[in-house]
């Protein structure tokens, strides 16, 4: 069985309008998955179903063998699935960075000695060791979001869910967070599920899932997904900006290869025209 199994899941907030419709998804350990879809497509609701914040009306979500329907599994699931939301200010709870990072493991009853080790691990993973005794409110947006991620990492989750975690950050802060997430995925084999509106953040994912109207509309590698440019436009999405410029050039008759996704590829293709 895969690490995360979502089987025929449907969900509604009001028992009338289904916002998630018969979604099936299995995520293997170590995968980096990007989830995209227009505002209101159901992405964030899906994220809340992954760790049992919401329970499916129909179907089953199984995390590492534990079902979200089993009340006794709640702690086991929360230990395994960590969620980082959009606004870091809503997720920080303590007045000192190390207390904030310790909050999760303390709640799970992790022994005191081990908590210290986990704080060290989590803060070094996000490159914030120097800020251990700092006050979160005095940090920049990117730094705060890295502390929020550290707080989740201190639970040693197998799956890290990022729900538009970079939306409020400036370009530098966004890069800091993405670099940390990539490193965790590559080096610590943390499974990543990233929900985002930034098409540029999708390019490095192993698999992209397009959600439309509560259903999985498309699934594939970034190249497979963005090759279907008219289809994704129909779902209210767009190409990554570099791919969009390449498209404009091709419409004017410039001969470029068909699957340019990022600015490095486009720069190389343009330099080769010389």
């Amino acid at each position: 069985m895969a690490l995360l199994e979502v089987q025929n899941v449907s969900f509604s907030y009001d028992k009338l309008n289904k916002v998630i419709k018969n979604v099936c998804l299995s995520v293997e350990e170590g995968e980096y998955i990007a989830v995209i879809g227009h505002n209101g497509s159901g992405k964030s609701t899906l994220a809340k179903l992954f760790n049992g914040l919401q329970k499916p009306d129909e179907g089953e979500v199984i995390v590492d063998g534990f079902s979200v329907h089993d009340k006794k599994s709640e702690f086991e699931i929360r230990k395994r699935v960590g969620v980082v939301f959009q606004n870091p200010d809503n997720q920080l709870v303590a007045s000192i960075v190390e207390d904030d990072v310790a909050f999760g493991p303390e709640n799970l009853g992790v022994p005191r000695k081990e908590i210290g080790e986990r704080i060290n691990f989590a803060l070094s993973a996000v490159g914030m060791e120097k800020f251990r005794h700092a006050t979160p409110t005095r940090l920049s947006g990117g730094q705060k979001q890295r502390i929020a991620i550290a707080g989740v990492l201190a639970l040693k989750p197998k799956i890290l869910v990022l729900d538009e975690s970079t939306a409020m950050l400036d370009p530098k802060g966004r890069k800091e967070v993405l670099d940390v997430v990539n490193k965790l995925n590559k080096e610590q084999k943390v499974t990543v599920i990233a929900i985002t509106h930034y098409m540029e953040e999708v390019i490095d994912a192993d698999r992209v899932i397009v959600i439309n109207d509560g259903e999985i509309a498309l699934s594939g590698t970034p190249r497979e997904i963005f090759a279907q440019k008219d289809v994704i436009k129909g779902y209210g999405l767009e190409l990554p900006f570099s791919a969009y410029i390449a498209e404009k050039l091709k419409q004017k008759g410039v001969s470029l290869k068909s699957d340019i996704l990022d600015q490095t590829e486009l720069a190389e293709a343009l330099c080769a025209l010389k």
């Binding site: 505002n39 409020m168 400036d170 509106h197 343009l270 010389k274």
Partner: protein, 290 residues
């Protein structure tokens, strides 16, 4: 209305010296009527503190510089801020959080009740209808709905309608597209240009999206640690990517491509908009436009 800021400084927590933070440090800046003006800079660089001064949410302190907007002197204690705010509209981050009315109509009409109490019911209705249609909403369909039953994109439109209902000449927006999907973002900028061609003469926008700044702004300014460190057209600001990188800004894709092509001896001289860039590529690499 011309916006003229001279030697503006602002310190948070002035009472407690050890904890005080200098958010603005001797900022001088003139924004001419008609501009689509960008304000960029890292989180914490002073952008929001600056724009909050423009409608008097933060008052200009004693000996802390001056702000003149059209005939309004904001450094003068007798400045009529209410009248200023009807002519300079302010849209904050996540503007949908500003909604409060029972119906969309009430919410949008609040600006008129507040700023133009002389308008009667009939005149109010005309203005509300115009504002909602301007932002692309169907007046009859939405006017009696609760703003809270609308989608995120629609809520944001209602919030904008509530700001433009007094027909402000200057519209100031603090990161208005954060959290919008790509199509929502594109539509939002199209709306801003539509307003800019109509009664809004000057748009001032704070943004972290360098591609959007290059595409939309006639001029921009870069804030760093409370100071203005760079001012000019997007082309001028992004002419040296090492500098913008050191300011933690990132850069538009078109500026990156221009720099890479320069390394191989191709000089692309565009305004950094996608169309401008594409045309230059046609000229320089493909033997002219067809």
């Amino acid at each position: 209305m011309r916006v003229e800021v001279k030697n503006l400084s602002f310190v948070y927590g002035q009472g407690a010296k050890a904890l005080s933070v200098r958010a603005l440090d001797n900022v001088s800046l003139t924004i001419e009527e008609g501009e689509f003006f960008g304000i960029i800079g890292q989180t914490g660089s002073g952008k929001t503190t600056f724009v909050q001064h423009l409608n008097g949410l933060i008052k200009v302190g004693k000996d802390s510089g001056s702000i003149k907007i059209g005939e309004y002197d904001l450094s003068d204690k007798k400045c009529d801020f209410k009248s200023l705010r009807s002519k300079l509209g302010m849209v904050f981050q996540y503007p949908e959080q500003q909604l409060f009315g029972d119906t969309v109509f009430d919410d949008v009409a609040f600006g008129i009740k507040n700023f133009m109490p002389e308008k009667n019911a009939e005149e109010t209705e005309i203005l509300v209808k115009e504002a909602l249609e301007m932002v692309g909403l169907d007046y009859q369909k939405v006017k009696d709905k609760s703003p809270f039953e609308l989608s995120g994109g629609q809520k944001r439109r209602v919030a904008i309608a509530g700001v433009i209902v007094t027909k402000p000449e200057v519209l100031v927006l603090d990161e208005p597209v954060a959290g919008l999907d790509p199509v929502g973002k594109r539509e939002f900028f199209a709306l801003l240009h539509k307003l800019h061609k109509s009664f809004v003469k000057t748009v001032i926008i704070v943004s972290h999206d360098m591609d959007a700044v290059a595409e939309n702004c006639t001029r921009a300014v870069v804030f760093s640690q409370g100071k203005v460190v760079c001012e000019g057209t997007p082309k001028e600001i992004f002419s040296d990517l090492e500098t913008t990188n050191s300011l933690g800004l990132g850069f538009p894709v078109t500026a990156y491509l221009t720099a890479r092509l320069k390394e191989v001896g191709v000089d692309i001289d565009s305004d950094l908009t996608v169309d401008g860039f594409v045309n230059e590529i046609m000229n320089k690499l493909c033997g002219g436009n067809e």
